[in-house]
Amino acid sequence: MSDRSQLIITGKPFSFDRERDAEFERLVKRYPLRESMIMPALWLAQDQEGWISAEAIEYIADRIGTYAAKVFELATFYTMYQLKPVGKYHICVCRTLSCWLRDKQDIVDYLLEEIGIAPGQVSEGGRFSLEEVECLGHCGTAPVVQINGEFYEEMSVEKLKTVLAGLE
């Protein structure tokens, strides 16, 4: 894991929009402890903005009534929280065991050669970003790629070309 603690300060205040606000209030009733809402709230912030800024962390801490340092801990510990902006299409390629055995590297190589993005990078213009992730739990249909949360199984470079061409 690389250091995730260099948060981006946007200089703009953050707050939940009406929909997320309602969802926060609905969920908070399900837990006897408000701090249990840190993870759901981070998800809501990411869902709203696509990533999580320093301001979002501060907002969540104040809203829940906990330390900003604690929300900071969780945001950096759990690697699915994006702490910098990602592309319009965020591509996750599984790098672990079964996907590795079934040639996930071909897919990573293709993305570098054709789209020019290495893991951790965003393409020019912000259309694509790439992340190599740990086991996605689709080992029986490896290799697997996840784009904006949608799974694409039994992938190959050929199939990936078709999928990418079909994106808006």
């Binding site: 603690s5 300060i9 320093a54 330390y67 340092a69 900071f72 510990f77």
Partner: protein, 208 residues
């Protein structure tokens, strides 16, 4: 007067206060169990693994002394080859990514890591690959300067701000060997007791 129990340390009988954790109970009779994360004012955390001791016939036979109460008849092992090896191993892990810049460190001479190394290890370094680098001279506020590389991540300072002052300015961010103590940007230490974290740091992580 507290209730006393008799137990055995390396086969020798000692009388200690019942129910106290083994670190404190044995310290009272002059027996040291090395530890980083435990502090009497902050309680046991169990993360450093430096205080692991053997309990003959115990289930489990290997326990953190900080979380183990002294009981009548207990047979504590501190000097077996297995325990000594664990102590050397933990010190090796603590040191592989440590800068070992003792000559310019204010804590030198009163540093637990340094003292334990001299007492329990004295092994040569086997680190032949690049160390993890982290930030140094971080201004945590209230005059506290933090060195993430010297820090052993025992979490005493973090627990101090949460349990004692209730201000919670510090956290351990990231996971793996990228973990480090940090403040949230723009929310530095801001409490009257902040300088205590320099004092409770077992190593040279927090400086004035």
């Amino acid at each position: 007067m507290a209730e006393m129990v008799k137990l055995f340390v390396n086969g020798q009988e000692v009388e200690v206060e019942s129910g106290k954790n083994l670190i404190d109970a044995l310290a009272a009779v002059g027996i040291e169990i090395p530890h980083f994360c435990y502090h009497p004012a902050l309680g046991a955390d169990g993360n450093c693994r430096m205080c692991l001791v053997g309990i003959e016939g115990g289930r489990p036979p290997l326990v953190p002394a900080c979380k183990t109460p002294a009981l009548q008849g207990m047979k504590v092992q501190l000097d077996t080859d297995y325990i000594k090896k664990i102590q050397r191993d933990i010190l090796e892990f603590e040191l592989i990514n440590h800068p070992v810049d003792c000559p310019i460190c204010d804590q030198a001479g009163e540093c637990d890591l340094q003292d334990y190394y001299m007492t329990y290890s004295l092994e040569d370094s086997r680190m032949s690959v690049p160390q993890v680098s982290k930030a140094k001279k971080l201004d945590f506020g209230c005059g506290v300067v933090h060195d993430q590389e010297r820090c052993v991540l025992c979490g005493r300072c973090v627990r101090f701000t949460r349990q004692i002052t209730g201000t919670g300015e510090l956290g351990i961010v990231n996971r793996t060997d990228a973990a480090r103590v940090a403040i949230f940007p723009g929310r530095p230490l801001d409490n009257r007791y902040a300088l205590n974290i320099v004092d409770i740091c077992p190593v040279g992580g927090n400086d004035q």
